[in-house]
Amino acid sequence: MNDANKRIIILGVASAIAEATARIWAAQGARLFIVARDKGRLDTIAADLKTRGAVEVTAVAIDCAKANTALELDAMVKTLGGLDVLLLAYGTLGEQKRLEADPEAVRDLIQTNFTSAVAWCLSASAVLERQRSGTLVVIGSVAGDRGRRSNFIYGACKGGLARLVEGIAHKLAPIGARAVIIKPGFIDTPMTAAFEKKGLLWAKPDVVAGLIVKAAERGGPVVYAPAFWRWIMLVIHHLPTFLFNKLNI
């Protein structure tokens, strides 16, 4: 593989983190296949990535939550002539309160954040296994590490996804392909627009993007972004229940 012309698929490129990551790859001269739902937004992003130096940008509007993953992925891989990195970045936060009262909305959220993501991951895993190379990178969340009252439905999806990606990483390890789950902490993006963004815990999407690019090259199957979240989550994970229950998080 020519390092400068990596073949990369990005699902959900319109997310702030994915777009920031795509820019780094574009500047490195990657060949990109980018996917988002909205054709207009996708074209805007494609023009930017091309200007920044991507050797080739193919942009196709697909609703990832409803796609026939194996079919779509095969077509994408054929277009690129192989696959070096697949970044799965689409997802939705949902509103915990509303979700608890609306089973229909919960089903949609699980379909988007978990069920469809599992299908994409398995399809990607099959491609990587066949090639015996390449990396699957999936954006999870620190919310998946321990169920908390503020967002446990979203957290359940991301936690499940983390288990899946760990398993795929385990499966691919002997043949030289890789899988990585990225667990961002508080990131200043439109997804978190309603939160007060103060203090040192908040990071910009660029920071996560840098870690994703690095994780796609080398490293272990679980990456906290920024890295200090590993320690925060370690503490939260091991808090005794009587203390944990007192926290409004």
Partner: protein, 445 residues
Amino acid sequence: MASPSFVTRDDVLSWGRVHRRPQQVAAPRFCDEFAALLDNRGASSSRLAIGMRRSYGDSCLNSDGAMIDMSGLDRFIAFDEATGTLRAEAGVPLSQILAFAVPRGWFLPTTPGTRFVSLGGAIANDVHGKNHHQAGSFGCHVKSFDLLRSDASSCVVTKENEAGLFAATIGGLGLTGVIEWAEIRLEKIGSAYLDVETIPYVGLDEFWAITEESVEKFEHTVSWIDCSARGAKFGRGIFSRANWREDGVFTPHNDDTWKNIPFDAPALLLNQYSVASFNEVYFRANKAKAGISHQHYAAFFYPLDAILNWNRLYGQRGMFQYQCVIPPDNARAAIAALLNEITRSGQASFLAVLKTFGDRQSPGLLSFPRPGATLALDFPNRGSETLRLLSRLDAIVGHAGGALYPAKDGRLSAEMFRRSFPRWCEFLEYKDPGMNSDFWRRVAE
């Protein structure tokens, strides 16, 4: 009440950090979101598109309305390697344009003293740089832009097809609508480095002499002047003049800096004595390295960008910046008078910049740059004491037929604004009734 996409924030301040009122802020990432954000049917609240809030006072605030933070619209649209024409969304910071353009052998046609301003902000304030005497203002290099008005109409504006709207929007403080994207002409460079000549001077007469001798031969000129030095040292400063090198080294700057001022400094940090000592050290250090040196563009154009949030050195109460321009005929007398007044007050801080503008006409109805000399400096906010000093400076500037710079201002009077910008009535014709700012309410309503 603004639409639900707007969030009330009390941490949104301008660079001077004096004006502190909650702001309604929305942060779109795509142009398709504007229609909903500009729609204020059923509510009379105004809008203002903002960039990186490097304006010092209240021209980038809209406390009585809502603001649209453009930083999420930071994409390139097209770049023509042959002509250097760049089209990009308005929220793209100049720092990103440089990171993109420098390795390709291009540079901004002119740049303000910080690279952390947005493309839209550079146009809306018609910013200027050290090469004004040759290149004119930023607006001189704008080919076209897309302007979205609050009535949901939008059009691509050029000097040719919409001369009035073009002139109103350049330097128009964001009040003619939302600039969605703009197309500018970059300048070809032969290196990322400059040959910089540093010349210490004592007294304004020397400053004027060096200026006269430099403007033809040097693309960039600027000087730092010590506003705390009295007696024999009065009017001393450091003149720098520079031209691009031609060595073909195109290393871009690095935005990753660990230098940050993470909290507000105590109010007493900057006082008459600490400033005077700093200035003494600075002057001597520069005097020692007088002569010619190679400097990277980041060191030459953006020395303060090396420390993020340097504005926090001024403490909780923030600071005022004062920047005026004095027409050529009155420049010598008025600059001397200003310097006298400032030195006497003992309130000046260390960042005083003196430079001359060239004759190239700025394209905007409300453009600040015009022929003459411009003086810019910071004052820690000490309440009415500071405001009284600034009013005394206004009197000198007004008497000399000069003008003040809205991007730097947070207190000038309506009368002073109207004297500074005699074409402001013409501007009214093009102002978008749905856009407004705290500054505009103060000076024009």
